[in-house]
């Protein structure tokens, strides 16, 4: 049996650091997947950076923040990485594919949930988001990040 928890974190200020806690279900056995979605609340035409211009056809991805997720028990930090805005150029002009396989979490937002297997022996998942979108835009940017935590639940006896 699978369960899904959607937790929304709102960021309002430039460079804001927000800690949060996500309570897991009582009968959670494993955390099996992660995914996130970003929703901009500030008007996108009022100076908020939504793409980075470059001379080459390749446009670097917009990193809007840093995300850390950790379990309080033995697993510790199980996800630490950048939150990346949708990148239309995902995979373009990337010559490393033959040698270094492209990972969803290294170049762009993951198109589907990132598979993980974390023992859910913890009551809560603790995490933080450190804003970078406001920093590169030079102003306060209001946005919400929906964090999707997929969990495998224990079957009822």
């Amino acid at each position: 049996m699978e369960g899904l928890i959607i937790h929304t974190v709102a960021i309002n200020r430039q460079g804001e650091l927000k800690h949060f806690e996500i309570p897991l279900s009582n009968n959670a056995k494993f955390i099996t997947g992660l995914w996130y979605k970003v929703r901009l609340i500030t008007d996108a035409e009022s100076g908020v950076v939504t793409e980075l211009k470059s001379r080459s056809p390749y446009q670097p991805e917009v990193i809007i923040g840093e995300l850390s997720l950790s379990s309080n028990q033995r697993e510790g930090v199980f996800y630490f990485g950048k939150i990346i805005l949708d990148n239309a150029n995902y995979g373009l002009l990337d010559y490393t594919g033959g040698v270094f396989r492209v990972n969803n979490y290294s170049h762009a937002k993951f198109p589907q949930s990132l598979k993980v297997k974390v023992d859910a022996d913890t009551a809560i998942v603790h995490g933080y988001i450190h804003d970078n979108w406001g920093v590169i835009s030079g102003r306060n940017v209001r946005y919400e990040i929906d964090l999707y935590i997929y969990q495998q639940l224990k079957e009822k006896p």
């Binding site: 650091l17 800690h19 033995r74 933080y128």
Partner: protein, 104 residues
């Protein structure tokens, strides 16, 4: 966090993590000069802050600690993994940690 509270916290935290009483502790007193950034690699250990240092920013995968930061809603006393200690300006800063090294 006072040293006494830190010791009690460490004892309970190590039990919570499943290490029981199997850990060593070391005292760490860092002196950070103006403009200095120090990186501590604590992938197999935990650093517990036993004071609230001024003029320093401490960052790790677990979170941040910076008294001057008005943009944060919480500070972390427990740090793990790559820990970056950055001087944020002013006189020489000092910070004390208890390093906890668990073993099996």
């Amino acid at each position: 966090m006072t040293p006494a509270l830190a010791q009690e916290y460490i004892k309970r935290r190590m039990h919570e993590l499943g290490f029981g009483d199997n850990y060593h502790i070391r005292l760490k007193h860092f002196i950070i000069r103006q403009g200095e950034t120090r990186v501590e690699k604590a992938y197999n250990s935990f650093y517990i802050l036993v004071e609230e240092p001024a003029r320093l920013q401490i960052k790790s995968q677990n979170g941040f600690f910076e008294l001057a930061n008005t943009n944060a809603n919480e500070m972390q006393y427990e740090h793990h993994g790559k820990i970056t200690i950055r001087h944020t300006g002013g006189a020489i800063a000092r910070v004390r940690f208890i390093q906890v090294i668990p073993y099996k």
